[in-house]
C-alpha cells in the first residue's frame, strides 16, 4: 500500500492493491488518478511491437490516391507536409510532422527503451529522462485527429475527384488503436518504482 495525492485536487489517498484494470478515482474531485495494470510489461511490449510494424506500413505504402478523370496520382503521409514546407510555412510543416508522424514514433521508441530493460531486468542510462519525456509528449500525439482530417478531406473532394484510401491509411487507422492499447497498458507507478535510484 502506498499513498498518492490526487493530481487535480491534491487530496491524499491510501492506495490498496487493486484488481486488474480497476480505476483509482479521486473521492473528492472524481478524476481518474490511474488504472491498475496486470502484466503491464508484456502487454506494453506486445502492443508496441505491433505498433512499430504498422508504422512501417504507414510510412512505406501509398496513403491516399486521387483519380481525376485520366489523371491519377498517389500521395504519401509526407506529401502535404512537403508542400507546406516548400511554400515556406515551415513552422506549420514542422507542427504537422511532429504531431502526426514523429510523436507516435517517439512514444513507441520510448516505450521500448523503458520496457525492454524492465523485461530483461537490466538497467539503462537515461531511463528517467526518457520516461519523463514520454509522459510529457502524450497530448501532442494527434493521429486520431489527422484521421478525422482525412475523412473531412475525402468528403470535401468527393464531388470533384475520386479519392482512394491506400494501404497506409488502413494501417494508420489500426495504429491509432494499437498505440492506445500500448499506452493504456503502461503501469506508471510500477515503472517509476523500478527506475528509482537510477539517478
Amino acid at each position: 500500500m502506498h499513498q498518492i495525492a490526487c493530481h487535480e485536487c491534491d487530496l491524499i489517498h491510501d492506495i490498496p492493491s487493486m484488481p486488474d484494470r480497476a480505476a483509482a478515482v479521486c473521492v473528492r474531485c472524481g478524476c481518474v488518478m490511474f488504472r491498475a495494470q496486470k502484466d503491464s510489461i508484456d502487454r506494453t511490449l506486445a502492443w508496441t511491437f505491433a505498433g512499430l510494424v504498422l508504422y512501417a506500413v504507414v510510412v512505406s505504402f501509398p496513403f491516399l490516391a486521387i483519380k481525376n478523370g485520366p489523371i491519377g496520382n498517389e500521395t504519401g503521409l509526407l506529401t502535404g507536409i512537403e508542400f507546406l514546407y516548400r511554400q515556406g510555412i515551415i513552422p506549420l510543416a514542422v507542427l504537422v510532422l511532429l504531431t502526426c508522424i514523429l510523436m507516435p514514433l517517439i512514444q513507441m521508441l520510448g516505450l521500448l527503451y523503458i520496457f525492454i530493460p524492465l523485461k530483461l531486468n537490466v538497467r539503462v542510462k537515461y531511463a528517467i529522462p526518457v520516461f519523463r519525456l514520454f509522459k510529457h509528449i502524450k497530448p501532442w500525439s494527434m493521429m486520431e485527429i489527422y484521421m478525422l482530417g482525412i475523412l473531412v478531406s475525402i468528403v470535401k473532394l468527393g464531388k470533384m475527384a475520386t479519392i482512394v484510401p491506400g494501404l497506409a491509411v488502413i494501417a494508420f487507422g489500426l495504429l491509432i488503436f494499437v498505440l492506445n492499447f500500448a499506452l493504456s497498458a503502461v503501469d506508471e507507478h510500477m515503472v517509476w518504482e523500478n527506475l528509482e535510484g537510477d539517478l
Binding site: 491534491d10 487530496l11 491510501d14 502535404g80 511554400q87
Partner: protein
C-alpha cells in the same frame, strides 16, 4: 480506495508532478530548490506562476484567434481565378453541399472549442483569483474537459495539409495554405499550453482555506 481527509499541502507534503511520489516539503530558503528523491524533478507545491502564465497564454491565444478566423485558410487558383476560404466559409460550403455533419464537426473543432476554452479558462482564473468556493468539483470537471478537447482544434490544420497534397497532385487546382493557418496553429498550441499551465489544485486550496 480510501481517502484521508487532508490534502498533501495541508500535511506539509508535496506530490512530484512526474512520478507522484510524496515528499515532505522542507522549509527551504527562497533560492534553494527541492528535488524529488525518486525521479529528480524539481518539486513545487503548485505549478509556478500558474495564474499569470495562464492569463498571458489565454490572452495571446485570443489575439491569434482573430486573424485565424478572418484571414483565408486556403488560397485556391483554378483557371485564372483566385478564391480564398476562411474557416467559416469552409463551414458554409459544407452546409450548402449538404454535408451538415462535416460542417458541424469543423465548426465545433475550429471555432467553438477554442472559444469555449477561452471562456472556461477565464472563468477558472477569475474564480480562483476571487477566491470562489462555489462548485469546486464542477470547476475541476470543466478543467478536465478543456484539457481533453483542446487538441481537436488541430483538425482544420490537418485538413489543409491533406487538401494541399490531393488537390495539387490531382491537378484540380493550385492550392496553398493561407495566412490564417499559422495563426490558427498558434491558437491551438497556446491554448493547449495555457490549459497545461493552469493548476486545478488552486481551486481546492481556496475551498480548504475557507472551511
Amino acid at each position: 480506495m480510501k481517502a484521508t481527509h487532508a490534502s498533501a499541502r495541508q500535511l506539509g507534503l508535496v506530490s512530484c508532478p512526474d512520478c507522484h511520489l510524496l515528499s515532505r516539503m522542507k522549509k527551504t530558503s527562497a533560492h534553494e530548490a527541492a528535488y524529488c528523491s525518486r525521479c529528480g524533478r524539481e518539486l513545487q507545491q503548485r505549478k509556478p506562476n500558474s495564474i499569470m502564465r495562464t492569463w498571458a497564454l489565454v490572452i495571446a491565444a485570443m489575439v491569434f484567434y482573430i486573424p485565424a478566423n478572418l484571414l483565408p485558410m486556403t488560397i485556391t487558383s483554378a483557371l485564372g481565378s483566385v478564391s480564398t476560404d476562411t474557416i467559416m466559409s469552409g463551414v458554409i460550403y459544407f452546409i450548402h453541399s449538404g454535408s451538415w455533419e462535416i460542417a458541424l464537426v469543423i465548426f465545433t473543432a475550429s471555432v467553438f472549442i477554442p472559444f469555449l476554452k477561452f471562456v472556461i479558462l477565464i472563468y477558472l482564473l477569475l474564480s480562483v483569483q476571487f477566491k470562489s468556493i462555489r462548485r469546486p468539483k464542477d470547476r475541476t470537471r470543466f478543467y478536465r474537459f478543456t484539457e481533453a478537447v483542446g487538441r481537436w482544434s488541430m483538425l482544420d490544420i490537418y485538413v489543409v495539409t491533406i487538401l494541399v497534397a490531393l488537390v495539387k497532385l490531382g491537378f484540380l487546382a493550385d492550392i496553398e495554405a493561407g495566412p490564417a493557418a499559422i495563426y490558427f496553429a498558434a491558437v491551438v498550441v497556446t491554448t493547449m499550453i495555457a490549459a497545461e499551465s493552469f493548476d486545478p489544485r488552486l481551486i481546492w486550496d481556496v475551498v480548504e482555506d475557507r472551511s
